[in-house]
Amino acid sequence: MAVLPAERDLRRVIGDGEAVPDGEVEGLSENDLLELHRWLVLLRTYDERSLVYHRQGRIGTYAIFWNHEAMQAGSVYALERDDWIFPSYRESAIGLLRGMPASTVLSWWRGHPAGWWNPLEFNVGSICVPIGTHVPHAAGLAWGKKLRGESACSIAYFGDGATSEGSFHEGANFAAVMRAPLVLFCNNNQWAISTPLEAQTAAETLADKAVGYGIPGVRVDGADVLAVFEATREALARARTGEGPTFIEAVTYRSAPHATADDPAAYIDAARVEEEKERECLGRYEAYLRRLGLLSDEAAEAVRAEALERMREGIAAAEAEPPPDLSLLFSHAYANPPESFGSDLAELRRVRGG
C-alpha cells in the first residue's frame, strides 16, 4: 500500500472555546478524561518542582519539559501496560505514569545510583542521554516481542533534532523493514538547544521523513492531549495488526530553556515564547474540561495538592538516601566482574576511607 505524505494541518481535538469548536475522542469516558488530567498535573508539578529543587541546589542540571506534558501523557495513556516506553531525557519523569516513585527520577537528577531502575518493572527503558540512540533499542524491543509472538509494542520519544541523527534513521528503517510494532514519537518543539528547526532540516515537515521509510507520518498539535492520545492509539492499532511503525510528529514550541544550564535569551524570541505560554497544554485541557462541566476549581486544586504531595514525598525520600557506597562503582558493570575490581575496591577503601 502506498504511503502518502502526512497532512499538513495539525490534528486537533480541543477547541478554543470560541470560533474553534471542541471535538471528542471516541472511547474515552469521563473517568478517562479526568485521569488524563491527573497525569498532566502530575507531570507539570514534577517539572515545576524540579526547577525549584534545582535552584535550591537539591538536584543537579535538569532538562525542563514544561508544556511537553500533553505529548507524554496523551501518548502513554494510549499504551497497554505491556507496551514499552523508551524515553529521552526530555521524558525523564514519564515512568511516574507507570507508578515509578518520584524519588527514583529525582535521584537520577541528583546523580545518585538510587536513580537506577529495573526497566522490566515498569516497561520503561533507561533515560537516554545521547540524542536518538535509543530509537534502535525501541525498534529491537518491538521486533523481538513480535518474534516471540507477543503483542507488546514500543514507543520511542525524541525531539526534532534527533531526526538528524544516524541512529534515528537506522532505528526507523530497521523497524519499518521488520514491520516492528513501534511508534516513533517526535516532540517537535522546534529547538535543539539553540538550533532552530530550519537549521536542522530542509524537509517541509518532519513527518514527511516517514514516507522515505515506507511508513505513515502523522502531524498533531503537541499541546492537545486528546489529539496526541488519538493519534497514538491509531498508531498502536496499526502496529498490533502487523503493519509496522508510524511516525508521529507532535508540534509544539519550547517555552522554557532547554535545561537549567541554558539561557535562551541569546537566541529565542521572548515575545513568541510568551505567546506560546498562553496556549500551554495543561491550561487548554483544563479549559476544555471546564467547558464540559467536568472540572471545578476545588477538583483542580485537589489534583494539584495530590501531585505536590507526591513530589514532597519524592524529594524527601531522594534526600534521605545515604551517600552511595564505593562498591557501587564496581558492582553492576558486569554480571561476572573481573578479579581486578576486588583489588581496585580494596585499594580505594584503603586510600579514601569508607
Binding site: 514499552w84 545510583p113 537506577w116 531502575w117 529495573n118 526497566p119 522490566l120 518493572e121 527503558g125 533507561s126 542521554v129 545521547p130 540512540t133 535509543h134 530509537v135 534502535p136 533499542h137 525501541a138 525498534a139 529491537g140 524491543l141 518491538a142 521486533w143 523481538g144 516481542k145 518474534l147 516471540r148 507477543e150 514500543s154 544516524g166 541512529s167 537506522e170 532505528g171 528503517n173 530497521f174 523493514v177 558492582s331 553492576h332 558493570a333 558486569y334 554480571a335 561476572n336 573481573p338 578479579e339 581486578s340
Partner: protein, 322 residues
C-alpha cells in the same frame, strides 16, 4: 575430533549453540541468504529459519542498537560486523549503551549479546578491510573481548561468548579463516573467557600474542636458535594476568606482538601490567613488535606494515643480548 578450518569451526559452533538455546539468534549483513561473506553463518537460515538468522539492513549501529532491544525482549543476539573497519559505526552503540545499560539498571537487566567480526590484515584486500580494532573494544567498560587463534578456540570462545551474561566482542583472524586447519572437538565445546593458553614452553624468551600474531610467533620461534615460550592471550578482557606474569617470570624477557598501531594499543596494556607487577622477574625491558602509527596501507606494501618473523626475531636477539 574433526579437522576443520577456522571459519568452519565457527560455523560448527553456531550450529551447536543455536540448537542448544532457542533464544540465540544471528543477525547481520548477508548472514542469512549468503551465509555471510566468509560463510561463517552458512546453513543457519535453512536450519533455524529466517527469524533466527536475520539478514539486516546495512546499518551497523542499527544492528547493535536493535540487538540491545532484542536483549530486553529476551533474545541473545549474535551480531556480525562484516569487516573490522566496518564495525566503527557500531562503536556509538557499544560505548553509549551496550557497555553501560546493565550498570544503568543497577544490574537488573542483562545484555547477553555478542559482536563478532573478521579482523586483521595480510589478505590483499581494499582499504578498510584490514584493521585490528581490538583496543577500541577493550577500552570500553562493560564489554569483554576475545580473539581466538586456532579453529578449536574459535569455536570454544564463540560458545563462551554466546553463553556469557555480559556483552562480548569476538575478533576472528580472517587471515586464517581458511588457511588454518586444526582439530576441533565435536558437539558442545566451550573455552572459558579469561584463560590464556601456553602455546609452547621455553626458557630464554617469552612471546606474548593473540589472534593472527600467534602463528607468527610460532614461526619466529622456529626461526630462532633459542628456547621460546609463547603465550596466547585469547581473552583480552578479562585478561588472564596470572598466566601473563607466569610466562614473563619464566624467561624474564618479553616480546609483545600486535598488528594494530603501536600507540595506546593493547600491547601497551600488557607491558604496563608487567612493569607494575613483574618488575623483579624481568631481566630486560619489555619490547613491542607492532604495526605502525599510520593508516593501514594499501596491500602492495602491507607486508612491510605487519609484524613479521624478521622483526620478531630481531627484537628477540636484542633482548637476548641486553
Amino acid at each position: 575430533m574433526a579437522e576443520l578450518t577456522l571459519v568452519e569451526a565457527i560455523n560448527d559452533g553456531f550450529h551447536v549453540e543455536l540448537d542448544r538455546d532457542p533464544d540465540v539468534m544471528v543477525m547481520g549483513e548477508d548472514v542469512g541468504r549468503a551465509g555471510g561473506v566468509f560463510r561463517a553463518t552458512a546453513g543457519l537460515r535453512d536450519r533455524f529459519g529466517p527469524q533466527r538468522c536475520v539478514d539486516t539492513p546495512l546499518a551497523e549501529a542499527g544492528i547493535l542498537g536493535s540487538a540491545v532491544g532484542l536483549c530486553m525482549a529476551g533474545w541473545r543476539p549474535v551480531c556480525e560486523m562484516q569487516y573490522d573497519a566496518f564495525s566503527y559505526p557500531c562503536l556509538d552503540q557499544l560505548i553509549t549503551h551496550v557497555g553501560r545499560y546493565r550498570w544503568r539498571t543497577g544490574g537488573a537487566m542483562a545484555f547477553p549479546l555478542v559482536v563478532r567480526m573478521p579482523y586483521g590484515g595480510g589478505v590483499r584486500a581494499p582499504e578498510l578491510h584490514d584493521d585490528s580494532p581490538e583496543a577500541y573494544y577493550a577500552h570500553t567498560p562493560g564489554v569483554k573481548v576475545a580473539i581466538p587463534s586456532t579453529p578449536a578456540d574459535a569455536k570454544g570462545l564463540l560458545a563462551a561468548a554466546i553463553r556469557d551474561p555480559d556483552p562480548v566482542v569476538v575478533l576472528e583472524p580472517k587471515l586464517h579463516y581458511r588457511t588454518m586447519r586444526g582439530e576441533v572437538p565435536e558437539g558442545e565445546h566451550v573455552v572459558p573467557l579469561g584463560e590464556a593458553r601456553v602455546v609452547r614452553e621455553g626458557d630464554d624468551v617469552t612471546l606474548v600474542a593473540y589472534g593472527a600474531m600467534v602463528p607468527l610467533a610460532e614461526a619466529a620461534a622456529d626461526a630462532l636458535d633459542a628456547s621460546v615460550e609463547i603465550l596466547d592471550i585469547r581473552t583480552l578482557k578479562p585478561l588472564d594476568e596470572e598466566a601473563l606474569r607466569a610466562a614473563a617470570a619464566k624467561t624474564g624477557r618479553v616480546v609483545i606482538i600486535q598488528e594494530a598501531p603501536r600507540t595506546a594499543g593493547y600491547g601497551a596494556e600488557l607491558a604496563a601490567i608487567l612493569a607494575e607487577k613483574a618488575m623483579l622477574d624481568l631481566r630486560a625491558p619489555v619490547v613491542r613488535v607492532t604495526g605502525y602509527d599510520v593508516p593501514y596501507p594499501y596491500w602492495q606494501i602491507e607486508d612491510a606494515y605487519m609484524p613479521s618473523v624478521e622483526r620478531v626475531v630481531d627484537a628477540v636477539r636484542k633482548l637476548l643480548e641486553f
